[in-house]
Point group: C2
Chain length 390, copies 2
């Protein structure tokens, strides 16, 4: 840990939905509870796209940062001179335009996953951040968990030998009680193509991040191999994918990743079958559900010897024992900025782009398409995705 | 159960390897132990391709049928007038030629899986059996287990609602202790392309049969839908596939099957994670490893309520408590022949062909090829696969 005063990162929060609430509650937890004495976080501004009243209500919900500025539009937020970094917590349909808005205003950005709707959008974001020398990171929070770091270390140390296969799933049974539909209204972001709805972009990104952090991320840089991607999807009545399976093949490394996601069944109704399995010549590592927020893993050696490890999220007693786990990625942002880094080594730009290429290819093979408004990679500050005038 | 004397089926056993031994030991179990009083089995002849001495030694190994004729060639076996049905227990490279040899001699056939090496071979076998009015069945023994029958009944009865996904795996960690190879000699049938080696044909056929019996077999006949198949394979140094993943998509039924197999890792070194999962709108059925011989399944309802059912194989106390489970398919053969049926309703010819088409397509996409001698669909009684002169 660094000596002296902790580095303080000042956050501007773009959007006031559920994920923003969870993230901000994590920002309000004491870093000391998770053993971080080198960084701290301040929420200095919050914006709703529709009204500053919503932003003010948001501060009540998160029960903190009561001095934060509250805005009723995103363009106002991104020009607030007190903000260091924007947390883009809008639906993924909006990520490209919203992140561009922030970058163009000279702000660093932590952007929720799925990073974008298309790979071209992801490339454009990265080019822009690079050109403007701004920090940019996709908010794949799970990667920054001590559990994930430990799993990657175990693989690197050879604990399970050569890894040949990773299988991951994130599925949530969302069937309606009656009829053959899902429980979501057609306008809901989970199934609405206008909001880039569908299983792959919303849920599939998690099993994919396990495939990537185990089969791609740990490859030596000099023979980094993007996967060959094959995929199949079943379409919901709205046109979004409801059930998708993706095979990522890394022939140069003799490994195969299988990522699956469906809104038609649960990963496991009992939550006892591992959600992720990393299988090697000397055994396997099992990561338990949910794939996005695991708190338990098990190392099973080839001979059947096994041990389970619990890695609970640290909870802050001063914050009603809150602690969801998004603070790890926030700390990463702070450390990168403190150290003058524009990207995180744990999820480099190149890797976010390869993952977007993978999802784009999977969706293409599944016959899933999204409207021009959310797939364009031409930045438009006046896009309704930025102005909220829809 | 039928009244009167049981129907007796007289078997001729082609090949004397491990699978033939297991099958014959099952034939020697008393049908009464498994509650079958309507059929019985006699082993009346056994053939090795190389010497009658081997066939005689085989009778010692199975410890029974000591009066059976012993032959040193397959052509001799298939013309034995006392034989009703030939059990083809050769490597799958040989199945097409060996089964043709038997059919051409007017014998009914139970042929081990994988049925053939190519779909065209499977079609040719079926055409031949049909033309000659002979019984022919692929020996997918697992399908005839009371456990499998129960699982299919549970699905049909709506116990887990609409089935949207089946995931199955059969993998065996066969890495060599030293180096990067597998533990098999390159000439071993598991990896030798001359013997149609590779994970898909040898192991993958089991997860596929779970995909098919749950997502295809139970479809109403009038809208039977063969899957769209995508697959990826890693090749072993011999050219056989060592690691394969297959997605079978049934878009007309909104379902996806994922079948995987590798020789580089175990399905689960502990044998506690289910090998097969059939996932529906109201819950899932988990079938425990190994996928080829499960003795336990678990029904997990959507709300997490779960129950495990043990279905051990009945063991014959008079046969040293033997009972592997291949007798169920033998009984099916006997009943079909007794009732004048040429194919089994549990695995109709059409379905064996669709499964072979699936594996052929998977292997094609994986870039796996086999030599002409074992892929030809031209019958040759003098083929070294029939004469043993290799």
């Amino acid at each position: 840990m660094a000596s002296g005063n902790p580095y303080t990162l000042k956050w501007g929060i773009m959007a006031t939905g559920g994920i923003a609430e969870t993230f901000c509650k994590d920002l309000l937890c004491s870093p000391a509870v998770r053993g971080a004495d080198d960084v701290r976080h301040e929420i200095v501004a919050v914006a709703s796209s529709s009204s500053s009243k919503r932003a003010a209500e948001f501060l009540q919900k998160i029960n903190g940062a009561f001095d934060a500025k509250t805005y009723g539009s995103y363009p106002e937020l991104v020009v607030d001179p007190n903000v260091d970094i924007i947390y883009v917590a809008t639906p993924h349909s909006h990520h490209f335009q919203n992140t561009m808005l922030a970058l163009e205003a000279g702000k660093h950005v932590l952007c929720e996953k799925a990073f974008t709707v298309t790979a071209a959008q992801a490339r454009k974001l990265v080019e822009t951040a690079k050109a403007k020398k701004l920090f940019l990171m996709e908010a794949v929070w799970t990667r920054y968990f001590p559990l994930s770091i430990k799993v990657r270390e175990l693989i690197t140390s050879g604990e399970i030998g050569t890894v040949f296969r990773t299988i991951g799933d994130l599925s949530i049974n969302s069937n309606a009680e009656e009829g053959s539909g899902l429980s979501f209204a057609d306008s809901h972001r989970m199934v609405n193509p206008d909001l880039a709805g569908g299983a792959t972009l919303d849920l599939g990104v998690y099993p994919l991040t396990w495939v990537f952090q185990t089969l791609y991320h740990l490859q030596p840089e000099q023979d980094k191999e993007a996967p060959t991607v094959i995929a199949s999807s079943n379409k919901y009545t709205t046109g979004a994918d409801e059930n998708t399976a993706i095979i990522c093949s890394f022939p140069g490394h003799s490994s195969i990743g299988i990522a699956s996601t469906t809104m038609r069944a649960d990963t496991d109704p009992e939550n006892v079958v591992p959600a992720v399995r990393i299988q090697g010549s000397k055994g396997e590592i099992q990561v338990f559900a949910p794939a996005y927020r695991p708190t338990k893993y098990r190392v099973v050696k080839k001979n059947g010897e096994a041990q389970t490890f619990d890695v609970p999220q640290p909870a802050d007693p001063a914050r009603n024992s809150w602690g969801h786990g998004m603070f790890w990625e926030a700390d990463e942002c702070a450390r990168c900025l403190r150290d003058g880094k524009l990207e995180s080594a744990t999820l480099p730009w190149k890797e976010s782009i390869v993952i977007m290429e993978t999802m784009e290819e999977a969706l293409r093979q599944g016959g899933i398409t999204y409207p021009e408004l959310i797939t364009t990679d031409v930045y438009d500050p006046k896009s309704p995705l930025n102005t909220g005038n829809q």
